[in-house]
Symmetry: C2
Subunit: 281 residues, 2 copies
């Protein structure tokens, strides 16, 4: 459980840090970035977990999204984990951008050779929050989750599978229905095997249909010029499933925006306002 601080930079009155630690669920050394807002020096504050997309590390959101200004104003801790185990020496782990390293897909793998290390779902929902709540001034009763693309999928499934654990959820261009897109099918088959029923446990569109928890208010953000929209992301399938299940959802479409961090940076402030409604309530 020992944390090693790798970097620390003052940012918007708070501290942007990077840590490494030995993960018990992933059986490797993991890094995560963490922003401590100014008031975290004197009291426990809410936490937002950000899950990144394919090929990202803890660096991308930390350096490109401009989120610290909003975390500082709202006094939220930001936790930015890596997107997969690293350096596990599994044959094939570095062969493609959409499977293995950088592409953990936020599932707990059941298949060899992945199941020893590729347990990102447990890491994100169990190990990491336990670590954060133990080591930092985080209010364990006030946590929310958000993400982008593969990480938007991750945020949605973590939220839907754990009613009440997170106060709110939002996602930029999430993979909403991975059982129906090429990225999702490849990852779910690789990590979970060929029984497609098992894939549905990690598909937000399937999960929302059987959601049975406190009232929720899901925010999906989507650029209209996103080249992955129609083949990989499928937000309309998710919205239809929400309507069928009578779960409130807002699909915010952004005219002319793409899949990049330039798009995320433009609207990240609105997402912090969404989370603040619940985290500060």
């Amino acid at each position: 459980m020992s944390l090693k601080q790798i970097a620390c930079n003052k940012s918007f009155g708070g501290l942007q840090k990077v840590f490494s630690h030995e993960s018990s669920s992933l059986k490797c050394t993991m890094k995560f970035a963490l922003y401590l807002p100014p008031e975290a020096e004197s009291r426990k504050v809410p936490v937002i977990y950000w899950l990144s997309g394919l090929e990202c590390t803890e660096q991308n959101f930390m350096t490109k999204a401009g989120a610290q200004q909003h975390a500082a104003v709202n006094n939220f801790i930001l936790v930015i984990p890596d997107t997969s185990p690293r350096g596990c020496n599994i044959p094939g782990e570095d062969e493609s951008y959409d499977f293995g390293t950088g592409a953990g897909f936020y599932v707990d793998a059941t298949q060899d050779p992945w199941k020893t290390n590729y347990n990102m779902y447990s890491y994100i929902t169990q190990e990491l929050p336990f670590l954060i709540n133990s080591e930092f001034p985080a209010d364990p009763e006030r946590q929310s989750i958000m993400g982008h693309s593969m990480g938007g999928h991750g945020a949605l499934i973590c939220y839907l599978k754990n009613p009440g654990k997170y106060r709110s959820v939002s996602a930029f261009s999430p993979i909403c229905n991975p059982t129906q897109g090429p990225w999702g099918k490849k990852a779910l088959k690789g990590y979970l095997g060929s029984d497609e029923e098992s894939w549905k446990d990690y598909d937000a569109t399937c999960l929302v249909a059987k959601y049975d928890g406190p009232p929720i208010d899901i925010l999906i953000d989507q650029g209209t010029d996103d080249k992955f929209l129609e083949k990989e992301l499928l937000p309309d399938n998710f919205v239809a499933a929400c309507k069928e299940a009578q779960v409130p959802v807002v699909l915010q479409k952004r005219e002319g925006y793409d899949h990049s961090y330039f798009y995320i940076a433009t609207f990240i402030g609105e997402h912090f306002k969404h989370h603040a409604k619940y985290l500060n309530a």
Copy 2:
């Protein structure tokens, strides 16, 4: 003069683009980033040039500073050039981080083998503005300049050597007195030769002492935990020279901040306000 668009992403209602072109002053292919704010679609708008520091390309400021939100609100075009010629096949150009590639130091070299390509001063003050004013809706009467570290030095010398050309200047952690620090001495000797008198033409502290132009109002921003402060940057020397020459300067010290883009992002909004006073006057 033909521009090739390499990238285009919508950002804060405007467009963040990257271009390449054949530079006549540098005799190589150069890239620059350019942000077009929303109103540039319908009228000519002011321009801010950003000069980056050692090892940077056109990418760093574009992705890490969070400047687009401020350029959008103020309707400023942002121009972000690269920091040196690239790929000139000069022996030794890639040997060190502080000389050659990524370290043009915004001078016009007089020494072989650098003088054919390493003319960043002419590129920044002549060729690039001509190109920008020809190809984009830029108001040539309303331009300002800013930068960081080596680029802060660049912004100061371009401003001081061309009275009236730029409406305002600001610099984050600039190399204020390069004739007195190791980075500056190495670069000036390499590009300009061993006659130290010639170095003073590119030293802001020397230049301000003989400044003879319209009234000016220089903004210097400096983190107190910047590890390069005492050996390389020397802002106190510049402030003393400004006082001696009765040139108004503000040295804004930032407690606990370092030399990074996390620091720049924190205060970039204040710098845009400084420039807006002059660009919108």
